[in-house]
């Protein structure tokens, strides 16, 4: 398969390519447009396309949450992207549904904000009607049922509902396809595979709050390092028996130099002034 390079050099178009590479002595010493063989396969340019496309439309963010001995840690980045344009570096992706329940945002920002606010309203109505707080199971089921009824209509939401209720810490993953999963550890967004790698490896059930927060911070940082659609500020929240509390918000640029401080390289060769002759 020869690459058609005639457009590159119009002056050489008239000369047949077979005589191109060897200038004939005394004859027409003008080179024709060079062309080179490409491997003969079906779709050379599209080889990796499939792998890249699979993750392209994934929700451009990194969020994670996990249950451990002291409750639930919830962490997220703060970048909003529109294709290749970073539209904001300071988006609040952890939404406070009520004082003891948090939701994370991945996918369409408007969808997540609206439906989490709506969930907060429904949870409050449940409290007033039943004189007791709604469980995390119930809240996530409410949201999942709403999203299921809108399936196929283009909502894009990948959220985790984390909270502490009578049964202890609870964590559910709910998405706009109507899926709902109960689990101990989740990460959602385009940076989630990177975050999973760090999170899965460092996770232990019996960690202190500081260790768990540091694990979450580290996992989000590594995801923002590799994923272009994640960045900004890492927010880490902790949900305990008395409700949620924001633990930290660190810029990932600063975290980078904290984890990998610049090392002064030894000078190999130093230029010195030549002695005056």
């Amino acid at each position: 398969m020869k690459l058609d390079a005639t457009a590159l050099d119009s002056s050489a178009a008239l000369i047949p390519s077979s005589a191109a590479l060897i200038p004939s002595v005394g004859g027409d010493g003008v080179f024709a447009a060079p062309s080179f063989d490409l491997p003969s396969c079906d779709d050379f340019d599209g080889f990796q396309k499939n792998a890249k496309e699979t993750l392209k439309h994934a929700k451009g963010t990194t969020t994670l949450a996990f249950i451990f001995k002291e409750g639930v840690i919830v962490a997220a980045d703060s970048r909003a992207s529109m294709g290749g344009y970073i539209s904001s570096q300071s988006v609040k992706k952890i939404i406070e549904i009520n004082p003891y329940m948090l939701g994370t945002m991945a996918g369409g920002a408007a969808d997540c904000q609206f439906w989490h606010r709506n969930l907060g309203i429904k949870c409050r109505l449940h409290e007033l009607a039943n004189k007791r707080r709604i469980s995390v199971t119930g809240a996530s089921k409410l949201l999942a049922n709403i999203l299921f009824s809108y399936r196929g209509m283009g909502l894009s939401i990948g959220t985790m509902i984390a909270g502490w209720d009578e049964k202890g810490p609870g964590l559910y993953y709910v998405d706009s396809e109507g899926g709902r999963l109960k689990g101990n550890r989740f990460s959602v967004g385009s940076g989630s595979p990177y975050a999973y790698g760090v999170l899965d490896n460092g996770y232990r059930f019996d960690m202190s709050v500081e260790e768990a927060a540091e694990l979450a911070r580290r996992a989000i940082y590594h995801a923002t390092f590799r994923d272009g659609a994640s960045g900004g500020v890492v927010s880490v929240y902790h949900v305990g028996p008395d409700g949620w509390k924001k633990l930290s918000g660190d810029d990932v640029g600063e975290l980078h130099y904290k984890y990998y401080p610049v090392q002064t390289t030894p000078v190999e060769q130093e230029m010195a002034e030549a002695p005056a002759a």
Partner: protein, 199 residues
Amino acid sequence: MECVFGLVGDGFAVVAADSSAVHSILVHKSDEDKVMLLDSHKLLGASGEAGDRAQFTEYIQKNVHLYQFRNGIPLTTAAAANFTRGELATALRKNPYSVNILLAGYDKDIGPSLYYIDYIATLHKIEKGAFGYGSYFCLSMMDRHYHSGMSLEEAIDLVDKCIMEIRSRLVIAPPNFVIKIVDKDGAREYAWRKSIKSD
């Protein structure tokens, strides 16, 4: 990549399913239970789109319970299967559910039975069946080794053979499986076959 398969033995029926909850290249969970206890003597193994699977099977389960509350007696397996198929058929031309189902049950006078219900509302009463990519390996294995009136040990051995085959031959094979059985003593979980421990 979801696999559900089942077969009927001597006085029991067994349904096995993988337990991975997957989203493009990510495995969110590898201990998701996809075989639901429909009522005391029925199992519903489902595979399909995440939201549809959970929501549709719960809808069927609640309606089966409602029938029992209203009428004082439980539905037969055949009735439950036909009800499920009817719901899929009604939704098919408007708002289809992408779920494939194997419904197994035990009735006192009929014995064990297994029904194959696919996402376009096909219904068949069968002795052995399978859904998903795993079916390409399981169906021929079950055809080869199955005979009617298998004992529990023989049936579980066949199920294990199928799981081994899926694990070794299917690219991106699910690591963990759940096996449930239903017989005169009711529907219950028989075993998990785990090759990845998840906390």
